[in-house]
Amino acid sequence: MSVALRRLLLAVVGLVFLLPIVAMVEFTLRSPSGSGYGLDHWAAILDPERERSYRNLFEGVANSLTLAVVTAALVLVLLVPTMVLVSLRYPRLMRVLEFVCIVPITVPAIVLVVGLAPVYGVVVRVAGGGTWTLALAYGVTVLPFAFRALQTDLSASNLATLTEAARTLGASWPRVMTTVIVPTLRRGILAAAFITVAVVLGEYTIASLLNRVNLQTALVQVSRSDPYAAVIFALLALLFAFTLLLLIGRVGTARSRGVLPASPGSVSPASGAAASPAPVAPAPTSKAVR
């Protein structure tokens, strides 16, 4: 394929993606008077007098952000140790785990909701009707994406040997997890988290059918009375998701250069000697390596 053809294809694909976004921006910049452009609709969102009409929308944003955080935490807390355990101890089970994690992508959201509705009857009775409970359903829907992101990193790293090296150097399992596994899988974990956030922010069907308010259901509702606000929030959500994708890319680039930003789990010279949860054989100071 020639360079010119490649550029042409890239331009066409770019246009396909860009045109709707440009149209959305153009729409939000239209002046309320009907002629010319301005920032009136953007400013209106921050207008305290109109706070009431957007209250539902802000609630939706807050709920979606809460759900994004809870879902990401839930998925990572469950999936990372499970995948690491399967990878290190039961590698033959990886295919089973993969199947289980990929299944949700084959189930349409509407079917999922039909199954989830009675489950949520119980969830509400046990855990209340808080926003966060929707994260249980979202956790299932994002499993395929999170699994893939983690698996890519897991298969690229020699985790078994690194873990064994850490163990022979005196690291207990919790410390192996925090000082070796998590930093080694940092890119996969971040990618899984960001994709989870992006999926949750764009989710509509489950929230709508379970009568919950999130960003997407609120946007639909607001669009009926104020289409400008709906488009502005849709644009902001797009921008947020785009930023997350950029961050994933940056983390990947940083890793390939070997200049990872410090993370809470990583060992850095500045972090000092953290308290060891498990005593190890003392390292005598008198017999120095000379």
Partner: protein, 361 residues
């Protein structure tokens, strides 16, 4: 046929033990079974304090499993592992106080060289200043003090293994375990690092188990060599004794190159192709395979006739393949100047060195 004890007195081994600041290690009847497969089938092996023992054997013989069992990375099915007389079978890996270097470069990719070396000290809550000083010393020991701020992927394979060695040594472990640390390196670096490992091990007098499938490496580096086969120790001894007095055919074949020549054993001597040679041990009389090293066969003016079939140039020496009149093919090692063209008739003479023999059905 089997096992290490009783330990034969050996000058290199004794010297290592005499240096000994390291721990003594003893594997007693260690068995490791996986589902339907026995990886270790009653391994007995003793490492004296400060001694370097190479565990040599073909792929799948259980040598790495034995090392991993000593590290605590494999739980043994039966038997005991004693370090300084204390059974450590139930002690988890992170409390065994061993240093280990793996075949695949196992540096933590998110840490710099210095942070990698400091890792074991961090796990032991050594304070920052001492950590830094000891990591520097360890890096100086392996000649990489100037690369402390690099990441693993910025180093060559040899450098990475040096860092892994420094990381394993910095905690001053009781036992150093080396799992084919040179296998992934190119030939020249392999020899350099091999010598370096020997120098450092000698300096620190640390009890070391070195697993390898490369017999040249094992013979060059070890105080004693344990040859393994099918989950058992076939023979333990100094490199010299293994080479010159193999107790089994497997050892004779695996350690160095041996010709397998049909012959007859009688009265403690072996008769082959018109020559009579002293025998290692006291084999039963009858037909045997006689194992003769190529360097113990010489080209001569008179002797057993044969025809040169091939000549291999090995640098300082040549190795010729010669077919004898009875059809037996033997390898003969000789000086380069003695090289004869292919199809030339030559005469062979066997050196009067004791040879190992195997029963022949």
């Amino acid at each position: 046929m089997t096992s290490s004890p009783p330990l034969a007195p050996a000058s290199r081994a004794d010297a290592a033990a005499a240096r000994g600041a390291g721990a003594s290690v003893e594997l007693r009847s260690v068995v490791k079974q996986y589902s339907g497969h026995t990886a270790l089938n009653g391994v007995d092996l003793t490492l004296r304090p400060g001694e370097l023992v190479a565990v040599l054997g073909p792929s799948g013989c259980g040598k790495t499993t034995a090392l991993r069992a000593l590290a605590g990375l494999e739980r043994v099915t039966a038997g005991s592992i004693l370090v300084d007389g204390v059974d450590v079978v139930d002690v988890p890996t992170h409390r065994r106080d061993v240093g280990m270097v793996f075949q695949s470069y196992s540096l933590f990719p998110h840490l710099t060289v210095r942070q990698n070396v400091e890792f074991g000290l961090r796990m032991r809550s050594v304070d920052r200043r001492e950590r830094g000083a000891r990591a520097r010393e360890a890096l100086e020991l392996v000649g990489l003090a100037s690369l402390g701020e690099r990441y693993a992927h910025q180093l060559s394979g040899g450098q990475q293994q040096r860092v892994a060695l420094a990381r394993a040594l910095v905690t001053q472990p009781r036992v150093l375990l080396l799992d084919e640390p040179l296998s992934a390196l190119d030939a020249k670096v392999r020899v350099q690092l091999r010598d370096e490992i020997r120098r450092i091990q000698h300096e620190l007098s640390i009890t070391t188990m070195f697993v390898t499938h490369d017999q040249e490496e094992a013979l060059a580096i070890a105080d004693r060599v344990a040859v393994m086969r099918d989950g058992r120790i076939e023979q333990v001894g100094t490199p010299e004794s293994l080479y010159s007095a193999p107790e089994t055919g497997f050892v004779a074949q695996f350690v160095g190159v041996s010709n397998r020549i049909p012959g007859e054993a009688a009265g403690g001597r072996a008769r082959i192709a018109g020559a009579e040679l002293p025998v290692v041990g006291t084999p039963a009389d009858g037909p045997v395979w006689v194992l003769v090293r190529p360097e113990n066969i010489a080209l001569a003016d008179v002797g057993i006739p044969g025809v040169v079939e091939a000549v291999m140039f090995l640098g300082p020496v040549c190795r010729s393949t010669v077919r004898l009149a009875d059809g037996t093919v033997v390898e003969v090692q000789h000086r380069v100047e003695e090289r004869r063209p292919v199809v030339t008739t030559v005469h062979l003479r066997f050196a009067a060195e004791a040879v190992a023999v195997l029963p022949r059905d």
